[in-house]
Amino acid sequence: MKMPLFVLLAALGCNSNDAPQSTSSVELLNVSYDPTRELYQDENAAFAKAYERDHHVTVTIKQSHGGSGKQARSVIDGLGADVVSLGLAADIDAIADKGLLAKDWQSRLPDHSSPYTSTIVFLVRKGNPKGIADWGDLVKPGIAVITPNPKTSGGARWAYVAAWGYALKAGVDPTEFVGKLYTNVPVLDSGARGSTTTFVERGIGDVLLSWENEAYLAKEQAKDAGFEIVVPPRSVLAEPPVAVVDTVAQKHGTAEVAKAYLEFLYTDEGQQIIAKHHYRPRSAKVATDLPKLELFTIDDLGGWTKVSATHFADGGTFDQIYGK
């Protein structure tokens, strides 16, 4: 009996990474930035359960984590991400520039495609011996500041922007201020998590410029060390965005599930998990005990396109500062 080839293939459950997947189980790859490991572990479990319940489809989500810039470059080089959840919009813009997703990606989900936000705070040692309270304290001589490399880490770029924004508001020359800040940095790790490890495990530095959620995590993990979180009066509203990588999702046939996955992050359940992991949820309905502070956004500095080109491109302000 002759069987049409596609029936045979379907029967064999052909599930090569490239072929459209059979309908009873789906696999997604979420390429994310450094500090979101614990967050997505919980989100993925919750989403899989909900989706199975509603659609009777088993969803397995694989995770990859690393510095935001580095991850973006990997996706451009062919890492098959159905979904990206990176540290800043500029990194996803870079992927869009290469044609892997639509240029208007940021308007496809609410809140500039950022279901959660965070900010940059200071993590200091027990008792805050150096008395750090605000950005101005970071440039004092003898203070060792730990922050990652803006070329590879999203968190590092937010920290840079936060420092720049502080200097502008405080009326000091931002180039000089940020320059003095980086002079006080002994080690430049490639990712936010690497910097956290340098500060916590290796005991280097007096203050860590950290994602807010990372700071809470570090404090919990190293309970005995007694780290303290110092929230400056003013910082940047970091908006880490998420997006479906259209070309990849279409190739894998996962576009629908990927969209549902990202939309899940905005639901009550998704937002609660966000709050649980010390991110700032978008939904007003979800309670959070994170402190209120004055937050400015990247748009106040001209938007990521302008900031990236001016500061983080080759030969930009960061290169000039650090090159010295």
């Binding site: 990474n17 694989k62 990859s64 451009i76 062919g78 690497g194 490890t197 570090a218």
Partner: protein, 257 residues
């Protein structure tokens, strides 16, 4: 004088080998044996171990075959491009592993010369890059061994009517057995422990494209320090296993004589 030299050698060993190893094991067992076993039994740890073993199981035999062929060609024949071959064999030593990894991304990445090949950010890329960085070990052990022997015994075999293949199997190979084993051990150790090159081509997909060294880094960065050291001991076990195999082979060779 002799005691001084032995003392220095032992001191060096103690400082750079024994103490770090002891630290790794102490940290791995810090929370007890059940925590150790649990760390190794974790599904991501298990898939990392499987991937590392798979990579070694492919890279080492490939390089043994290539090393034998290249060493024999270089020491027994004259051919155009011989110097190029010797240089190519040494290339992985000269090049930083990270550059080696970048080479593969440039060749097989989406923006590379052979796009869409499913090599980088997947297991084939990890296998290929590991094979690349371990190319020199076997060849470089065999070349001096073959050169020292000279072709006399092989010519004798030919005059006695042996075909080139028979000559290789019955005369050449048994004479370089020890060098071959040693080269294979070095190759295995490097294949199992390679970090930089693999890190570049891996994609770091948890449970899929992380080898043991990459997984150790992940655990460390996730604040799971005890688990990180526990998984690190896997590399020590693999090293011990290769040494045991080497001793067994040597013992068998001695017995034959």
């Amino acid at each position: 004088m002799r005691r001084l030299l032995i003392g220095i050698a032992l001191g060096f060993m103690a400082l750079f080998v024994v103490v770090p190893l002891a630290t790794v094991f102490a940290s791995a067992f810090r929370d007890g044996i059940s925590a150790y076993v649990h760390a190794l039994g974790d599904s991501e740890a298990r898939s990392a171990i499987k991937l590392t073993l798979l990579v070694a199981a492919i890279a080492v035999p490939c390089n043994v075959v290539f090393g034998l062929a290249a060493a024999w060609a270089i020491t027994r024949f004259q051919f155009p491009g011989k110097r190029v071959l010797v240089t190519v064999i040494d290339l992985p030593f000269a090049v930083s592993p990270v550059i080696a990894g970048m080479l593969f991304v440039l060749l097989f990445g989406a923006r590379g010369w052979f796009p869409g090949s499913h090599i980088v950010f997947a297991v084939p890329g990890i296998v290929m890059v590991t094979t690349f960085v371990t190319v020199p070990f076997v060849a470089r052990e065999l070349i001096p061994a073959l050169e020292a022997r000279g072709p006399a015994q092989e010519l004798a075999a030919l005059t006695l009517g042996a075909s080139p293949w028979q000559t290789f199997w019955r005369v050449t190979l048994p004479n370089v057995k020890l060098s071959l084993v040693y080269g294979a051990i070095l190759c295995t150790a490097r294949a199992v422990g390679e970090f930089g090159a693999v890190s570049v081509v891996s994609g770091h997909i948890r449970g899929e494209t992380n080898t043991v060294p990459l997984h150790v880094e992940i655990l460390y960065n996730d604040f799971h320090y005890q688990a990180a050291f526990a998984v690190a001991t896997v590399l020590v076990w693999i090293a011990l296993a290769t040494l045991v195999i080497e001793q067994a082979l040597r013992w068998r060779m001695r017995r034959r004589r």
